[in-house]
Symmetry: C2
Subunit: 227 residues, 2 copies
Amino acid sequence: MDQRALPHFQEELQTLQQRLLQMGGLAEERVRAAIACLVSGDVDGLDAIASGDEPVNELHIEVDRRCFQLLALYQPMAVDLRAIVAAVKINTDLERVGDLAVSIAEAARRYMLHPPVKQLIDIPRMGDIAQSMLRDALDAFVRRDTSMAQRVLDEDDTLDALKSQIFRELLTYMLKDAVAVEPAIDLILISRHLERIGDHATNIAEDVIFMVSARDVRHQASPLPDR
Amino acid sequence: MDQRALPHFQEELQTLQQRLLQMGGLAEERVRAAIACLVSGDVDGLDAIASGDEPVNELHIEVDRRCFQLLALYQPMAVDLRAIVAAVKINTDLERVGDLAVSIAEAARRYMLHPPVKQLIDIPRMGDIAQSMLRDALDAFVRRDTSMAQRVLDEDDTLDALKSQIFRELLTYMLKDAVAVEPAIDLILISRHLERIGDHATNIAEDVIFMVSARDVRHQASPLPDR
């Protein structure tokens, strides 16, 4: 008897996906809030974000436990097996995004201690792109949509280019005026945290492509046979 | 019939572990070499590291494929299942360590374009600690040794403290002299890359503790029942 055909397995897999979406929504919201608080200068908001990682961490543990249960109880094969292994990986990525929201809030908190550097340059734009990459990567996972996943991979170049541009601009300020050094370093770090959020979205998109097509697009490798 | 009892499964699991060790050894050696080239000013060496990530990436794909095969063919349970899921995660961590060796080499390459900042402060020491954490975490995985894994977790605080100390020291130079700004930023980035290597070693150590004891030490959670 094929246990994968049991409605119970598909229900459990649905619940697992819902938990991942919930976790992704929470992580994304924390990134959005951190950048919004940086823009508006909301110190209390940043403190709340820096210390509010628990709901994401609880989901992290729950999702891992659900993945183990599904593997142990149903011994899934093919695309179902790939979906659960993808969930294990996506879970790790989302937990890191939660950590990065904390890092952004901490850097923004330090940034507030100094006179501001110009108008935060393109950091809010980087934040928007990182969030939408994350949202699209998770949508692609749930819909098993490889074209959507591919668009996430393409977006990553935009984020990297913005990071480099922000770095060059901040460097100019730092070289001109020592007062800009400390706040500019925090903005550089924030832009790197946002870039890493984009990297996590990229990882998720690669996992989606592998899950759906059993095609490994990481490291531009040759296609693997479907197992 | 319990497929886990088949000698074939244990052989395959051994091979999987050997590949992870091989990958860890490669990644660790690349980190060591990057710091050594930074210290000795070996530009060619750094270029070779920056473009030499392929062997780690090939192992990354191979290990993932082996994990899928083991899950699909043997439907392992309990500690065997946890060992394979741990391998999936460790594989991701080691691939990132390989990427971080590239990032260190690139930052070190940029650092060489400027007059040097003092004697690299404690960066070589951070490199030694990060490497030994990685080595110990993988040893703990192979030996299923939770006390060794716990020692890796403890070491992470040392690495974080060194990172903060390096940051403060470099900041002093940057505030005193604009010429130090660019090279100091690259050293700050290198120290953060090394800290992240320590974080990956920490992830591996946590996975080892979960694999052996089914106890989740991430986020200081309450123990989970053995499944």
